[in-house]
């Protein structure tokens, strides 16, 4: 009977079965649907109203091929299903299957059934049955699989009412397993049952074979008395898998008919072109070219708009609010800080738009297939292509996207080299320095030198990533069998709704994740720059007045001079001066040094910091900053501070240095410790220093 408490429903299924689409249909709370295996990595919970006034919590578990976990994402599924005390432990599990891949998808279903959780078999993508000549005998399948079946199409929204009805009546579902898997080794499993009479046999088996957290107290005990050699266990797992497939094959022989004469196949025709040894690469690089072009072309206008809006807002606040610390904090710290986050939204949104279209359509798997052999020469995997491409937006989602690389060494190398790709945060730094030191001229009549420099910097990023990967490949001694299995899903037209949701979710994640740090840094920076320890800071006004006795200053000039005096003697100014010996061989003065330090947390802070230091006040008015930077002259040598040598040195420094605290945090999370992020930091920043030093010393006037 329908109960008053919320029913917990778990969605389980192989990748590419439209599981997340089902989730969207049930909850309306929108999430991402991907065609690339392993895209759902977080725990996603939604809420659904069912008939008879029943309500349900819907949990979208990461896609998994079986309960034998081979990745972190798959572990999540097992731990959830083994832990009865979890507050989301399912009252009913929906196993989502794709009608075209029923045989393979059912393997997971038989495993879930063995956990004796009430289970509904959901056969999705039913709208493709006609094209593929598939017909199903549902009553027969229900009888054999000891379950109820919902035939739906989540893309079209068909069959959802019937599914909801089945969920409400989950109490009437059978919890009996549909096959007896323990018959693969009756003696062993008989012993196991005798020793732990109160535990489910299949759960015990999972604990023995998997590295999951379950019954921590008993786990060692179970392992010790029932351990087998690794190869014996694997042999048993193989036997188990064969046993399950035998059962599934037998049932499908009766319950499923496929008329191959009807089946239409445009997959093979598309594959022929997209994975062609020549055209495949032409298309891939063509797509990349279009993506980069449009990211820069299309986002220029909204970025300018955000830029000028925040500049105006900052000005307005400063003029409207009563002068004081609070006003300064808001107009110089918080508003530019928020502006510095929001300005990246257009680029990030466009990048994720393209990436999710490529994933949704199934094309990404073809790129993996096409690039694997080439990438392997550098110690990477075909699957590293996706992180390296998305690294041009931001290294953080890119590093998370390495999770489906099975081989630990290849995955680690991908994580370590991904930050070399030119992320969107380097762009503002590159833009202003290029504008300062590279002449706005054309060579050969059509190549703009500034644009060319920017392109070279992007290429430099990719090349460094690849080269350091092959170096790491030689240095790192990590054993472990390399293996590589990638599913090649059928092509699908991307659903607008799914793509839109993905873009929104990813952009939100950026704004609230990376954004917090950028904002915090801006505020700290503002504090450090507007406070100082000594009388030189306190009495700035007096000092400037004394220095300029007899020289008439306009009010604006006077204010600028005071601000400069203050910054020079503020906490950050003193910090900058103390590191000057380290950075002057690179061609930087103390002001650039501060900008470099403060942009350690996030590169894009660089421009804002220089703006603050050069007391331009309005940090978003690029012309003013640019003019100010251009007219900066080294007091000793009378050489402009931003000359060709120091500019190139800065560009190279930013191309290599790991100036991003969030990247370190995500590397720590993905590698489970501080060892790799620290190595990453030291190596990248060391390289940056050496290269920038060499460049400056060679080019210096």
């Amino acid at each position: 009977m329908p109960s008053t408490k919320n029913i917990n429903v778990a969605l389980i299924g192989n990748p590419n079965t439209g599981k997340t689409s089902v989730f969207n249909q049930l909850t309306g709370l929108n999430q991402q649907v991907g065609n690339y295996p392993g895209i759902t990595v977080e725990k996603k919970v939604g809420f659904c109203k069912l008939p008879y006034n029943t309500k349900a919590n819907i949990l979208d578990l990461p896609g998994t091929y079986s309960l034998n976990a081979s990745s972190i994402d798959e572990n999540v599924v097992i731990e959830m299903l083994l832990n009865k005390n979890d507050k989301l432990y399912p009252d009913v599990a929906l196993v989502i299957t794709d009608v075209e891949n029923l045989k393979r998808n059912l393997l997971l279903f038989t495993q879930i059934k063995d956990l004796e959780i009430p289970t509904i078999l959901v056969i999705n993508m039913a709208d493709r049955m006609v094209h593929k000549g598939i017909s199903l005998n549902i009553p027969y399948l229900e009888e054999k699989f000891k379950t109820r079946i919902a035939v739906i199409s989540s893309r079209k929204g068909h069959g959802m009412d019937e599914l909801k009805d089945l969920i409400v009546h989950y109490n009437s579902l059978s919890t009996e397993p549909c096959l007896n898997a323990s018959s693969i080794d009756p003696e062993y499993f008989g012993q196991l049952r005798k020793t732990f009479p109160n535990q489910l046999l299949y759960k015990l088996w999972l604990v023995i074979t998997q590295d999951v957290n379950f019954l921590n107290l008993e786990r060692n005990e179970i392992r010790n008395s029932f351990t087998k050699s690794h190869s014996d266990l694997k042999r048993l797992q193989q036997k188990e898998t064969i046993k399950r497939y035998q059962f599934i094959n037998d049932v499908l022989k009766e319950g499923q008919q496929i008329d191959l004469t009807v089946a239409k196949d445009f997959r093979s025709k598309l594959d022929l072109v997209l994975t062609h040894k020549f055209w495949g690469y032409v298309i891939f690089f063509g797509i990349l070219f279009v993506i980069f072009q449009s990211i820069f072309e299309w986002s220029a206008m909204p970025m300018d708009f955000i830029d000028s809006t925040f500049a105006a807002l900052s000005n307005w606040t400063a003029e409207t609010m009563p002068p004081g610390i609070l006003t300064n904090l808001i107009s110089q710290g918080i508003i530019p800080g928020i502006g510095g986050i929001l300005i990246f939204i257009p680029q990030i949104a466009f990048l994720f738009l393209f990436i999710s279209i490529l994933e949704e359509s199934g094309y990404m798997s073809r790129v993996v297939f096409l690039m694997d052999k080439i990438m392997r020469r550098f110690g990477l995997s075909g699957k590293s292509v996706v992180p390296l491409i998305s690294g041009t937006a931001c290294a953080i989602p890119a590093i998370m996207a390495t999770r489906n690389i099975e081989n630990w060494k290849e995955r680690l190398i991908t994580i370590l080299v991904t930050p070399f790709t030119t992320c969107s945060a380097r762009l503002p730094v590159y833009a202003i320095i290029i504008a300062l030191v590279i002449p706005d001229k054309r060579i050969l009549g059509f190549l703009n030198m500034q644009g060319l420099t920017l392109m070279l910097l992007y290429l430099l990023g990719f090349a460094t990533a690849i080269l350091s990967a092959s170096l790491l490949n030689k240095i790192l001694k990590i054993k472990g069998k390399t293996y590589f299995v990638v599913e090649m899903p059928g092509y699908k037209l991307p659903l607008f709704k799914n793509v839109a949701i993905n873009v929104i979710e990813e952009t939100k994640a950026f704004v609230f994740g990376a954004g917090k740090i950028i904002l915090a840094i801006s505020v700290i920076l503002w504090f450090l720059a507007s406070n100082g320890p000594g009388p030189e800071f306190e009495n700035a006004q007096k000092i400037v007045t004394e220095q300029n006795v007899g020289r008439p200053l306009s009010p604006a000039q006077f204010e600028n001079a005071v601000a400069s005096q203050k910054v020079e003697n503020s906490y950050i100014g003193l910090m900058g001066k103390s590191i000057e010996p380290v950075i002057s061989p690179l061609g930087y003065d103390w002001k650039i040094g501060i900008a470099v330090i403060s942009s350690f947390a996030a590169r894009e802070v660089f421009v804002g910091t220089l703006a603050t230091i050069y007391s331009v006040g309005d940090s978003d008015n690029e012309v003013t900053i640019k003019n100010k930077m251009q007219s900066e002259v080294n007091p000793k040598t009378k050489v402009p501070v931003f000359n060709f040598a120091s500019g190139i040195s800065l560009l190279l420094f930013y191309a290599f240095a790991l100036q991003c605290a969030s990247t370190l945090a995500v590397t720590r999370k993905e590698t489970n410790g501080w060892k790799w992020p620290i190595i990453q930091l030291i190596c990248m920043s060391g390289l940056a220093y050496v290269v920038a030093l060499t460049a400056y010393q060679l080019l210096a006037p």
């Binding site: 081979s70 694997k234 694997d372 075909g382 990638v486």
Partner: protein, 78 residues
């Protein structure tokens, strides 16, 4: 020496024979790569590796080194 998946030509089909469990990732077994099942080589990637297969109805790609571990009986002209 017996044939392996690595020896298949494009478009050829074969039946999977016994193989060394240690050499094959479990994930591949679970995707249907099991003795007795049919495998068809759909595409070979440029530079000869990886291989794009249809195993028991599943479309997937594996590397040559894994393909060499899986012995098969090649079906002629079916």
């Amino acid at each position: 020496m017996r044939n392996t998946i690595a020896q298949l030509k494009k478009g050829e089909k074969a039946i999977i024979l016994e193989f060394d469990v240690e050499a094959i990732p479990l994930k591949l077994l679970e995707m249907g790569c099991l003795p007795g099942n049919m495998v068809e080589l759909l595409q070979i990637a440029p530079f000869g590796d990886p291989l794009y297969l249809n195993i028991n109805g599943s479309h997937l790609a594996i590397r040559l080194e894994t393909a060499r571990e899986i012995e098969v009986d090649i079906l002629k002209n079916l």
